[in-house]
């Protein structure tokens, strides 16, 4: 069964998303179940192989081969013991649907079910271990999910119905032989309790996990959010930050309006001052290149030799790292004619945008 679940989950994780399950919850549960099963499987497989396989082979030979293999897998899983308790303890989140299907299946697979019953009881008697209620609920939930996933597919329906048939059998016979499983299943306490509302609570938990994940991103983004814990505090910080950013935008636009009587945002003028600081801050990766670009004719207002070269280099400078051309730059800089100011535009923009 678990293998079946694992297969289905592996193949269609998005269905679980549709179901509202967060993968982390599922993954955890699955991991624990797998651990448990691996534990038990080692001890059981030797014992069961001889008993189960011939019986199953006999009875399932009339079944569809694909289903057969899956049923085989399921039966071999020791976690079958899970389902017995499940039925008993809750009134049927999934049971009604499954049992109705099982009724139809029973008639088809009557011989099989008898053997399954036998197998299960033998399994139980040997091991005597039973997972606790929550894990079974989860397992049945998986069954349910599988059931829903495959929808109208007959194969899935038959498999699920087989399982429920087995659980019914187990339920009736094996109530007494219970023991807790070795590994503490406290992870699964959160799993649904078997009512319709449980799917809601699980979905809610998935939703909450999603929200907390996104809040973590926000924590990285908003400065000062690390010190606050809890949703309310973080939301407070986020609100303050957004408000402050919006106010900054307002203020800066006012400042720009005040500084610029004519709204002429020609960038060259604005960045002429920025040059010395930029020059100081990092080595100019420039190369004096030949003024070949035609567009620079458009840029020029006067004949600029060095200036154009400088202007040309940004497009070339990126692939080239270390330039030795700090000298020409300073030369150009010291010449404060407006024409040369143009040449710095490109650098300034680069600087500004970096």
């Amino acid at each position: 069964m678990l293998r079946c679940v694992a297969q289905s989950t592996a193949s269609s994780p998005e269905k679980y998303a549709v179901m509202g399950m967060d993968m982390s919850v599922l993954e955890r549960q699955r991991a624990v179940l797998q651990r448990l099963c691996q534990q038990q499987q080692h001890s059981w497989q030797l014992q069961e192989a001889a008993n189960i396989n011939p019986m199953i082979h006999q009875n399932m030979s009339n079944l569809h081969p694909a289903k057969y293999d899956q049923c085989l897998d399921e039966i071999n899983f020791p976690s079958f013991a899970i389902y017995g308790r499940e039925q008993q303890q809750h009134n049927g989140f999934a049971c009604p649907e499954l049992t109705s299907a099982s009724v139809s299946a029973v008639s088809n697979n009557s011989s099989l079910t008898k053997h399954d019953h036998h197998i299960d009881s033998s399994m139980l008697k040997r091991e005597g271990t039973v997972s606790n209620s929550t894990r079974k609920r989860k397992a049945e939930f998986d069954v349910e999910e599988d059931f829903k996933d495959k929808g109208a597919e007959r194969e899935a329906g038959e498999i699920q119905s087989d399982i429920t048939v087995k659980t019914d059998r187990e339920n009736s016979t094996n109530n007494s032989s219970k023991e807790s499983i070795q590994k503490p299943d406290y992870i699964h306490v959160r799993a649904r309790r078997g009512q319709a509302t449980d799917s809601h609570s699980l979905a809610e938990r998935a939703r909450r996990e999603k929200i907390s994940k996104k809040m973590k991103y926000l924590q990285d983004l908003v400065p000062g959010c690390n010190k606050v814990t809890g949703k309310a505090g973080m939301l407070d910080e986020i609100i303050n930050y957004v408000q402050s950013l919006q106010k900054q935008v307002e203020f800066l636009s006012m400042k720009l309006a005040a500084l610029n009587p004519r709204l002429d945002f020609s960038i060259d003028n604005f960045f002429s001052k920025e040059i010395p600081s930029y020059i100081a801050s990092f080595p100019m990766q420039l190369q004096v290149a030949n003024p070949t670009s035609l567009q620079y004719n458009a840029l020029q207002q006067g004949g600029i030799s060095c200036g154009v070269d400088m202007g040309m280099s940004p497009s070339q400078m990126l692939p080239q790292k270390e330039g030795s051309s700090s000298v020409p730059i300073t030369e150009v800089y010291h010449d404060s004619s407006s024409a040369h100011v143009i040449s710095y535009n490109s650098y300034c923009i680069h600087d500004m945008l970096d």
Partner: protein, 216 residues
Amino acid sequence: MKARTGYSTSLKQEFLKKWIKGIRIYSNFKKDMNILERKKAIKLSADLAIASTRNASTRWSRTLTANISKNETNKIFVEQIFSDSEVIKKEAPSRLMARSNRIASKKIWRRSHITQIKARKMGPYAVKARSIAKKLVKNRTKVLKSLVPGGENMDGISLIKETLDYIVSLRVQVDVMRRLASAAENSTRLGLSSKCSVHWLQGIFTVLDHWCAMVH
């Protein structure tokens, strides 16, 4: 890290280009504005520019563009600058609104039902503490929804997603504006005359394009 800085740089470039373009169009549109009008023009162009960098893929950008376009005088301005694709996307929110109303009513029922169950399970005090905490969170999400454009009808998860995106864009906006403002300040301090010709801007943009081409 490299990828992130590269991304934000290109974002800033894009924003700057669009912003300057918007301002130019606005100033051609309307000559001789007083300071308040200028401020409005700057802010408007900035908002439009930053919203358009998202290409209407996020809720807040669509709402922002839609809110700006609501004003008749702005509409012409908007349409002049940007393609119609963003203005068209206005219709998307109405569909979501109906769905979110349904979700809201369902949530209200669920909440009342769940509080009943919880009151039975835990003591009344625990429920009260939890409900107070929830109320706090609720109030703050309400405030956040009012801050983020288009946040009114969103549920928790998408609200946080939109807030994330909105914060990133706001930061880009503030960063670019601040640099421009400081540069303008410095240039006025130096007393350099302004060379206000579209000529220059075109030159700048070609360099920018070249640089973009190099980077990408």
